[in-house]
Structures are given as structure tokens and as C-alpha cells.
Symmetry: C2
Subunit: 243 residues, 2 copies
């Protein structure tokens, strides 16, 4: 735990804790080793995941910022902590899919690994009690979850992030299958990418071997996930915690 600053637990998620700091508009995000799947039905730990996902998220967010995508991350504070801007989360999970996997295969009867003819964006209602149900644009409108211009902008950003992540990973021998994003508004109304980008929230396949390098190892009990998470981080060329 980062010492010195006053902090108050603001929110405890399934794999992260968010603390208030003494500075308005900022928060500290602590990544933990806790792992859940299938909306909390499966629970456990992936050892060292907090450190790995914190580093992975930090690298991805910095890469996106370099390419003009605003994110909530200010800087990495410690092995498991990021300093971030406070945001009000848009209550939508934004999923981008390049290849059929996960709920897409189960719901629609498409075999895992089927390439999609183009990347698609799905929106789900961020409601654990309902199992994060899929939404259409009409649902978002009549439930008043986000204005239409924000939804359109989320789709544009999600597709841009997909292009950036995908080409970044192709160069590192990793196929980006799909991923989930969350966005939020800062106090001054800026829409920024929030949450994390890690093997908890993305499906990554080793392009050469097809090996899964993500939480599907935990979801489906396919073996120790830690080495796969670490391999993904190694491919990103991480060289330790920034000062």
C-alpha cells in the first residue's frame, strides 16, 4: 500500500479497490489477485495478478495516450497501484470483438475462433445483479443510460482503441480476440477511457501456438494463469515499475 497520503476506500470491485486521496479529482486504484468469472459464480485468486495487471494496464494506457486516446491514468504509483483521475463511470460495458469467443459463441452458436468479417462493438448494461445483459441502442435510449452522442463516441473510441491494441499486439506475436472497456466522465466533463486493460478484460491468444494468455485459463480451469499473464506482460517489454 502506498504510504503517506490519506486515503479512504471508495469502492471495492471484484479485482480492484479504489481509494480517495487528499487531492480532489484523483483516486488510487489498487489491483488485487482476486479473480472471479461468470458474474461471480466462480471465485478464486491468480497469484501475482495484481502486480501483473497493474503493469499491463499502465503500459497499454500510456501507449493509448501517446496515440491521442484520453485515459483516466495519471501514473503508476507502486507495483500494484495507479494514480488516476476520478471519473463517473458510464454504466455501459463496451465490448469489441474481432474473433468469436466467450458469450458470443454461446449465445449465437458460432464456433470459438471464427473470425468476424469486421470488428463489432457490443454494449452491455453494467448491472451485476442482472448479469450485465446485452443492450441495443434502443435499450440504452429508453433506459436513459447514456445520450446517443455519447454512445456514438464510445463506439468510435472503442474501434480506434481496437486498432491500436491489435496492431501493437500483432507486432508482439499476440492475437487480440476481444476485450471489454469502461469509460467515464471526469469532473470537468471529459470522456476518458477508465478501468483496466489486462488479461482479465481482454482475450489474448499466442499467435504462433494458439495458447490462451488470459482469464479463460481461470474461467475454464485450464491451468495456472499466472505464467500466461506474465508472458503477456513480457511480450509488452515491461522493464519494471516506473519511478
Amino acid at each position: 500500500m502506498h504510504s503517506g497520503a490519506e486515503r479512504v476506500l471508495r469502492y471495492e470491485g471484484k479485482a480492484k479497490r479504489v481509494y480517495r486521496t487528499g487531492t480532489p479529482g484523483e483516486c488510487v486504484i489498487e489491483f488485487t489477485d482476486a479473480a472471479t468469472a461468470f458474474n461471480g459464480e466462480r471465485k478464486g485468486e491468480i497469484s501475482d495478478k495484481g502486480r501483473i495487471n497493474c503493469a499491463t494496464t499502465s503500459i497499454f494506457m500510456a501507449m493509448l495516450e501517446e496515440h491521442g486516446v484520453p485515459t483516466h491514468v495519471i501514473r503508476q504509483l507502486s507495483e500494484t497501484e495507479l494514480l488516476a483521475r476520478d471519473v463517473e463511470i458510464v454504466p455501459l460495458e463496451v465490448v469489441v470483438r474481432n474473433i468469436a469467443a466467450g458469450s458470443f459463441t454461446r449465445r449465437l452458436g458460432v464456433p470459438e475462433g471464427t473470425p468476424l468479417s469486421r470488428p463489432i462493438v457490443e454494449f452491455s448494461y453494467k448491472r451485476d445483479d442482472l448479469g450485465d445483459p446485452l443492450l441495443t441502442r434502443s435499450h440504452i435510449e429508453v433506459l436513459d443510460l447514456a445520450p446517443a452522442d455519447v454512445v456514438a463516441e464510445l463506439e468510435v473510441r472503442a474501434l480506434r482503441i481496437n486498432e491500436l491494441l491489435r496492431s501493437h499486439m500483432v507486432d508482439r506475436g499476440v492475437t487480440l480476440v476481444d476485450f471489454k472497456l469502461e469509460f467515464g466522465h471526469t469532473a470537468d466533463g471529459e470522456l476518458v477511457l477508465a478501468d483496466e486493460i489486462s488479461p482479465d478484460t481482454c482475450r489474448f491468444w499466442d499467435t504462433a501456438t494458439g495458447d490462451k494468455l488470459d482469464k479463460d485459463l481461470f474461467r475454464h480451469d485450464l491451468g495456472d494463469a499466472t505464467p500466461a499473464y506474465q508472458l503477456l506482460l513480457d511480450r509488452l517489454g515491461a522493464t519494471g515499475v516506473p519511478a
Copy 2:
């Protein structure tokens, strides 16, 4: 059973049988008393339903045709049979919702009876083995289920049909809550409304009493559905089988 014409069973659905006739491009649709719910998990009969739904569908389809909406129905042949144009069904269920009910309430946590700020159209994949999953426009595109211009036209037609049905029923003291449509292409490529319009495929509430006049009575075991189906037909002013 209508006598005289040669007929071959072409398709047996959950509540209807479709026969080929001797005439190319035509078929006979027989309405049965069989009732199913929750994707076939609940099965039974609603006595006299075949007759009532055949008459109800015949009246609704004729009303829509009068207002310029093309349908597959040619004419009623007998108490339980319609003569219809053969169509290749678009593999989408088109649902229109005015008021929250059914899967909308369960999936999205909205109380039954909540009016929606505007009518919405949902598309589901017509796949019993998958439980007819909800689709987004992107799903329809990447699964190649229907061209974008057909999907756009389905939405326009569904909303037009909603306006016509809703105002027709308002005048008869019945609230149209939601309904499911199917469309198909005739041999010469015309897109027409197909299937049926009945208390099996619509939710109707008595505006004065709130009583359900539809298959929810069967789905949720709320009492004998036959009198409710008959009441709905009576409200439509049915005066027996056309000659």
C-alpha cells in the same frame, strides 16, 4: 381439415402446421390448439385456440392490408385454416415494445407495466436451439442474417404495424403492450408480413381492468386462457368465418 386439394405437410411449428397445396407459391396454414412457452419448456393446449387465433390473425392481417401493409395472407379457408403466399422466412423475430413486459423486464430489471418513452424494435435470432437470442445490428451483419437495407425496412414496417394495431385496439378498449412479427420474401422477392398476429404473439391488456388477454395466462398459469382469447376476438367484432 380443408378437403379436396392435395396437400403435403411442409412444416410443423409449435402452434401451426403449414401444408403445400397443388398451386405453386401458395400454402395452407392450419392453426392448432397446441401451446408452448419459454422456448418449449412448458407445453400444453389452449382449447379452441386454433379457431380463435385463425380468426384473429385473419382480421388483423386484413386490416393491415387495407392500410397498405403487405402480408402473406390470401384468405381464410376454414375455421382453422388460412390460404397464404409461400414465403422464405427472414430468420429474425421482430419484437415491438410499447410497455415493459416479459423478457424485457427480466433481462433489464424494469418493472412490468412501465411505459417506454417511445416504441422500440428488437431483433432476435430465430433459433429455438439457442433460445432466440437478442441481436444487435452488428450481429445481424456479421452473422449475415439479413442485408442492412432489409433490416432497416423491417424496423420501419414494424413501427408502422405497431401504430396501426395500437390505434385499432385503443378503440376497442385494449392496450397493445408488445408483439412479435415474422417477415418473409415471396418467390418474386416481395417482403411481406408472415406468421400470425394473435394473443399467442402479442401481449394485450384490457385497458379498463388491466386483465391480461394473451398467452401470459398460459405461461404463468394464471387461469383459463380460452375466454381471454375469445374476449379479444369479440372486441375485434368478429362475425364468424368469411365465406
